[in-house]
Amino acid sequence: LNPNISAFQRRFVGEVRRCEEMEKTFTFLQQELRDAGRVLAPCRDKPEAPLAREALRIQEQSEQLAQELREVSRNRASLRGRLRDLRQYLHVLREGQHFTSLPAPLGSPPRSRALSERDPLLDPSLHQHLDRKINFVAGVVHPWRVSAFERLLWRACRGYLVASFVEMPEPMEDPATGESITWVIFLISYWGEQIGQKIRKISDCFHCRVYPYPESEASRVETMNGLQTQIQDLSVVLEETEEYLAQVLDKVVLALPTWRVQVQKMKAIYLVLNQCSFDVTEKCLIAEVWCPVRDLTQVQEALRQGSYKSGSSVECFVQRIPTSESPPTLIRTNKFTAGFQSIVDAYGVASYQEVNPAPYAIITFPFIFAIMFGDVGHGLLMFLFALWMVLYENSPSLKQASNEIWLTFFEGRYLILLMGAFSIYTGFIYNECFSKATVIFPSAWSVAAMANHSSWSSAYLATHPSLTLDPNVTGVFQGPYPFGIDPIWSLATNHLNFLNSFKMKMSVVLGIVHMGFGVLLGIFNHVHFNQWHRLVLELLPEMIFLLALFGYLVFLIFYKWIKFSVADSLVAPSILIHFIDMFLFTSSADNLPLYQGQVPVQMVLVVLALASVPVLLLGTPLYLWCRRRAPRTNHPTSVATGEQEPLLEGQEAGNSVNATKEDVESGRHSADTEHLDMAEILMHQAIHTIEYCLGCVSNTASYLRLWALSLAHAQLSEVLWTMVMRNGFVRLRYVGGVLLVPVFAAFAVLTVAILLVMEGLSAFLHALRLHWVEFQNKFYVGAGYKLCPFTFTPDAWD
């Protein structure tokens, strides 16, 4: 209601900000938990949105916990640092002892650049003669800097020092980067004050940690003991700190999930409240909502309960106001129809009060899928899979899976159930079960009759690899198979020739029926919106065009199937050539007519179809133009489409004064632009005509994909059987059975992967495309938007 006010000026912005701060604290807490390796369990129970003082309490508690955590972490880090320092010092002292106390043999090993233990440079016997005071500098240096350090020391101090380096026995953490490095301890003995200063400066440059090295043996031992005790104490303290940290983390784990949910709910509520505006007295909130008419009493009831619970003195109420905006679309679905509705909505949400193709899609979509998928075995597998999902749909492990692909399959379980069931049906019609025919009824073709009639000799059989069964001979063909395709065709080499003709005609017939049904659904739209002129001027020409041309094609197909039998199969006319001649107004000599008077009938139909095109093109625009010309004199009194009402209506109790003013303003606008609409209407209608007429031809051809995909499926299935399964049937007596086990396993896996998943998805996609494009563009507009009521949905949480 208040789009003009910026986000910062809204009333509840303070509360929203507080919620966001709390969420920041929660994120920090969660981060800490993750660092410590804890897992946060999702919130099980459903807490209600908290009141204001509870929210305050949550905020205080969470901030307190965060503060504690921060302090404890800081303490722990500093304790760790100190421990590390102490340990390093201890090592320095220990290793240094090796150099200064033990006498080294003469002939020290050659100096190598590698980090190895070395003896002092100077001969210790010489060492003792020199009576100057020797000072020491001891510390640790990063191993990568050792050689540079050494070189610099040598050059700077000109040999007046003895430097020894040794690796630390255990690696330690680098305070800066946190990774574990093996430090190198160095011990420099020098004499002279200035050299000492130089050395110290150099070691500073190289970021070495220098420790005081006590001169005498005894003080060294003392320092070492002192260090040991310190280290022990520190370790104990560190342990206690870690325990305390664990306790704090436990508290957080318990409380955090509930808090998160509560705060999120609160934030959502405040965001919605922010969208309301205040009335003049600043005491009430006003909101404009969309609400289904059927639920109006429920809304009033809920409002009444709400005001009772919160104990306010004034009651909330709801009132209807007129508007010129187009309302959102709400289609109520149950768990069965939701899947079908969602595939329709994926193309476009229905415009307000438009006819919804979803109820018809419940049957047509699985049927069209099944035509492309028809196989009893595969359909059965699909059906059983979907049945399992449907029967166990309430089990929590299925519902709360996080895998997105699985969830997609689960949402469409009723879709898959129907698709599988219909596929079993079409599988029986195509007579295919894992690419093998089932002989439920005895075959109508008799090889014996043909053999007896033609008296095939052995010599003849030897030279002719394929033999024809001529149905003209009596006894060979005993009539059509009761249900589906005769199983003998699966043994015939011209199996595909027969099936192609059948499937092609079937696809065309089904396509034209589907499209005609789509055009007919437009009747609902026209009747509902009281556009009777469209019924006569659009629907009628469309139907005539479709039926005169393509309906006639369907008629020809059925007529030829019924009228022509095997006896005249040599001279049977070709439908395709007749159809082409119909358009070109010619005739071929060797193509017999299907029935008497075919040529004049076809001419009439073509003329009728061509005549309907200009009616479709110009009918509606002319009608609208005439209608607008007549009442142009009475224009000022009736404003546009009668959905506006003047300002006097909504005056009670400060009720949306803003809204009605805006509504009336927008109403005035539409009246001015009327004279521009004519061109727009003409253009729109021209586009619609061209789209429809050309679409009829192309869409009919598009339905041939039903044939193509069913052929592909059948062939893939057959290839899989002959190339995989057949290898399991070998001549070996009993070993064959053992061999059959892995062969069948391979067959099963490939069936599921290629035929069920890949072909299933492909057929699904094509069936969807046929529905979206060929079926729905005959009547569906799909320009609406969905009603999104305010809910606390769990998938808003991350």
């Binding site: 043994l491 070998v730 001549r731 070996l732 059975g737 053992v738 059959l740 086990v741 099963a748």
Partner: protein, 98 residues
């Protein structure tokens, strides 16, 4: 005691499904081979010689293949039983650890 669990819960479920399908389909195939169904003629491993002296040899081959199918079905039943046991062990393990 050595753990009898050798495959995960999902493997066990897959094995169970595959075995059930295998048992049903192979038994049916075996029956159809046994009644010398003409539709399955291409799958019978015959050679040129078997076509001399009447259909007895072909029928014999049919029956051989059908026995093979039954054996395979039996093996799949064993596999199914094994998968079932694995599944049960898994479920029991879930209860115990918690």
């Amino acid at each position: 005691m050595v753990s009898l669990l050798c495959c995960g819960p999902k493997m066990a479920a897959c094995g169970l499904v595959l075995s059930a399908w295998g048992v049903i389909m192979l038994v049916l195939l075996g029956i159809f081979f046994n009644v010398h169904s003409a539709v399955l003629i291409e799958d019978v491993p015959f050679t040129e010689e078997d076509f001399k002296d009447g259909p007895e040899k072909i029928y014999h081959l049919y029956e051989q293949v059908s026995y093979n199918c039954f054996i395979a079905a039996g093996l799949y039943a064993l596999l199914g039983g094994f998968s079932l046991c694995q599944g049960r062990l898994h479920r029991r393990k879930e209860y115990l650890v918690r």
